[in-house]
């Protein structure tokens, strides 16, 4: 199983573009099989997905709204992963991040709107980061595996938030477990309002200003991981902890920094959901986006430039998928959770399945061309 070709001779676009695409195609073929087993026609499902996500402007706006969430959670997973940490607690960190957003929006609403927004963003980062800090600390100091602790923290966050939403910060005039709405002027402007500004009429969609925040976060992550000393140290620890220690880099410090930044990014999901869509904390708003971030990051090879198309793909699957679940009674939204699992399998765990064959195929082809 050693690599069939000399790594240095493989062009970058083969290993970073062709191989991931081959893996994705394999994953989608397996997913098509699942849809077939569930008793529906996979080709019809693909048609519905494409129509639902691109076929009309609101559908596309929905796609980008989901993309926003997946960029945040994908970046969150990627940052921790560069330090070789599996932060699968994005779900809980985003949930707790919602508290930060809510408190900033409720308690500082007397300040000018842009300042409250900045405070809300800071609140999301601080609360999400704090929720990641404890697993990070336990991993760094006590060696408790971050996968188990972050999963436990998801369960704990869920219990805690339901408790708060039912007993403490609930809107007592309403039946459901959610808070009161934040002041209307604090609501993030939506795509519909942008459209009105430039004279395009579109119907409501949840796409809002957070999309631009997601792009900014991507640039931030790129800068942090590849252009700062912090990022360098984080990657050094992730790549070879022993070597990093010899170089005077503290793994403890970097484990904590990477996890806190990761938690903060996951917390930003709450900006999109609380300020952009629901305008309050509703129970269970992270709705699996945190887990999907794992698939997004692995597919995007943990780089912001890869994460964007991966997030878009999952946005398409989510939005198109809801079209499918609407039209095909045998397909539930859980089918698309399964699809995520398949994508993680093929672009993560089995990423080397056909890599040697694909790489040697292209290297041989290029060699022939050079000789000819």
């Amino acid at each position: 199983m050693s690599s069939a070709v000399d790594k240095s001779k493989v062009p970058w676009w083969v290993s970073n573009l062709i191989v991931p695409i081959v893996n994705l195609i394999l994953a989608l073929l397996v997913s098509a099989l699942f849809i077939f087993i569930a008793g529906e026609n996979p080709i019809e499902a693909v048609k519905l997905i494409i129509y639902g996500s691109f076929g009309y402007i609101e559908g596309f706006a929905y796609t980008l709204y989901y993309t926003t969430n997946f960029i945040f959670t994908g970046l969150a997973f990627a940052v921790a992963f560069h330090c070789r940490l599996f932060n699968i607690g994005g779900e809980g960190q985003a949930y707790i991040g919602g508290l930060g957003v809510y408190f900033a929006a409720i308690h500082f609403s007397f300040l000018p709107v842009p300042i409250v927004w900045i405070l809300a963003i800071a609140g999301a980062i601080v609360f999400g980061g704090a929720w990641a800090f404890i697993p990070a600390y336990l991993q760094a100091k006590r060696g408790s595996h971050v996968v188990i602790t972050t999963i436990m923290f998801n369960f704990i966050a869920s219990s805690l938030m339901i408790y708060l939403l039912v007993d403490v910060i609930r809107d007592t005039n309403q039946m459901g477990p959610h808070t009161i709405a934040v002041a209307k002027e604090l609501w993030f402007p939506t795509f519909k309002e942008f459209g009105e500004l430039i004279g395009i009429k579109v119907r409501y969609s949840p796409l809002n200003l957070s999309f631009l925040l997601a792009i900014a976060a991507s640039v931030f992550v790129w800068f942090l991981v590849w252009r700062t000393k912090w990022g360098y140290e984080m990657r050094a620890v992730g790549h070879n902890t022993q070597a990093a220690i010899y170089a005077g880099i503290s793994p403890y410090k970097n484990i904590i920094i990477a996890m806190v930044i990761s938690g903060g990014l996951a917390g930003l999901l709450a900006i999109n959901e609380v300020l952009g869509v629901h305008h309050k904390i509703v129970s269970g708003f992270p709705a699996g986006y945190g887990f999907t971030g794992i698939a997004v990051a692995l597919m995007g090879r943990n780089h912001p430039i890869g994460i964007f198309p991966a997030a878009l793909l999952f946005g398409i699957l989510y939005q198109g998928g809801s079209e499918v679940t609407f039209d095909m009674p045998n397909i539930s939204r859980y089918m698309f959770v399964a699809v995520q699992g398949v994508i993680i399998l093929f672009s993560g765990a089995l990423e080397n399945l056909f890599r040697p064959q694909v790489e040697s195929f292209f290297v041989n082809k290029l060699n022939i061309r050079k000789k000819g």
């Binding site: 569930a38 602790t149 219990s159 859980y334 399964a338 993680i344 765990a349």
Partner: protein, 323 residues
């Protein structure tokens, strides 16, 4: 007398609740002792629950359901092996993939085949495992202490409960008293030494994963064809992770892992018992917070307040054979 009745029901539920944890911890023990991380216990338990319930529903026999669950779980273990042993993929990623895949697929297929929002049909008594009452349980109930232990705590459980406790000494014997067990542990500690002794590292890891798949199937079948009479979505509720935490806390040893599982089981039994009960000085604790106790306990135990856990040395590392 009420205290006795309370205690009996608490201990009785502890034995029952610990059962899937014990199977899962023993399953994890084989994989991890051979050097393969297994976070996918959760996904496999869920799969077993689904397959056992569906199999039993269609074929009318819980035993057939169990066999199908074993086949399904062994296949998933083989998939994990294919990705992480043969193709040297990242073991944690492979586990996360299996978990997410099976959370989705079980509920999606349940919804596709049975509608009902991801539930499988309720099994009849012939289609599920029933409680086993020990002989003379009623007759000797009145004898003090012995009757209490025999009739109220030990008797009246599902077959899986007894199997789980029997499995622990068997696992201990296999892992620590047989040559297979010696090789298994050696593969997890120092695979290249095992390789140079002429033993196939990959084959050993695959064998360990196969046993892992069989054991975890029992945990899932217990959930859907014994304690409950159907499958519902995400019914494993983190038990796979709790079992893994118990395994780590038990330092990858069957006996200590069993104690950890019982501790988790007891905490869970206690939290169910405490729901809505008014405690002296504290009052009623909100139910959501009580439900979080087992998860908090997991974190606390893992934090190693009782000593640092050191796992098999080669765990998580794919073995690369030198040429």
């Amino acid at each position: 007398m009420e205290i006795f009745a309370d205690l009996a029901s608490l201990l009785n539920s502890t034995l029952r609740i610990s059962t899937p944890l014990i199977f899962a911890a023993m399953a994890g023990l084989f994989a991890e002792r051979s050097g393969v991380i297994d976070f996918s216990l959760e996904g496999k338990m869920l799969t077993a629950a689904f397959v056992a319930a569906v199999g039993s529903y269609y074929f009318g026999s819980p035993w057939l359901g169990l066999i199908l669950a074993i086949i399904a779980c062994v296949s998933l273990s083989m998939l994990h092996g294919f990705a992480s042993v043969t193709h040297k993929g990242d073991q944690v990623v492979s586990c996360v993939a299996i978990n997410i895949l099976m959370i989705g697929l079980t509920t999606a297929l349940a919804a596709a085949w049975f509608g009902q929002a991801g539930l499988t049909p309720t099994l009849t008594d012939e289609q599920r495992f029933l409680e086993i009452t020990f002989p003379f349980a009623d007759a000797i109930r009145s004898i003090p202490i012995i009757g209490f232990i025999y009739s109220d705590i030990l008797s009246g459980h599902y077959i899986f409960v007894y199997l789980a406790y029997i499995s622990v000494p068997i696992v201990f014997w296999i892992v620590f008293k047989t040559s297979f067990g010696l090789r298994l542990r050696a593969v997890g500690e120092n695979p290249s030494a095992v390789d140079s002794a002429g033993i196939n590292v990959f084959a050993m890891r695959y064998k360990a994963l196969m046993i892992n798949g069989v054991l975890i199937a029992f945990a899932g079948a217990h959930l859907s064809t014994a304690v409950n009479a159907n499958f519902f979505r995400e019914m494993s509720a983190g038990r796979g992770y709790l079992a893994l935490a118990a395994l780590i806390f038990g330092k990858w040893h069957p006996k200590t892992a069993l104690i950890a599982c019982l501790l988790f089981g007891f905490t869970d039994a206690l939290q169910i018992r405490l729901q809505g009960v008014e405690l002296p000085a504290i009052g009623t604790i909100p139910v959501q917070l009580i439900q979080a106790i087992p998860y908090v306990l997991t974190v606390v135990l893992l934090a190693g307040f009782v000593g640092k856990a050191i796992g098999p040395r080669a765990i998580g590392q794919p073995y690369i054979k030198e040429r």
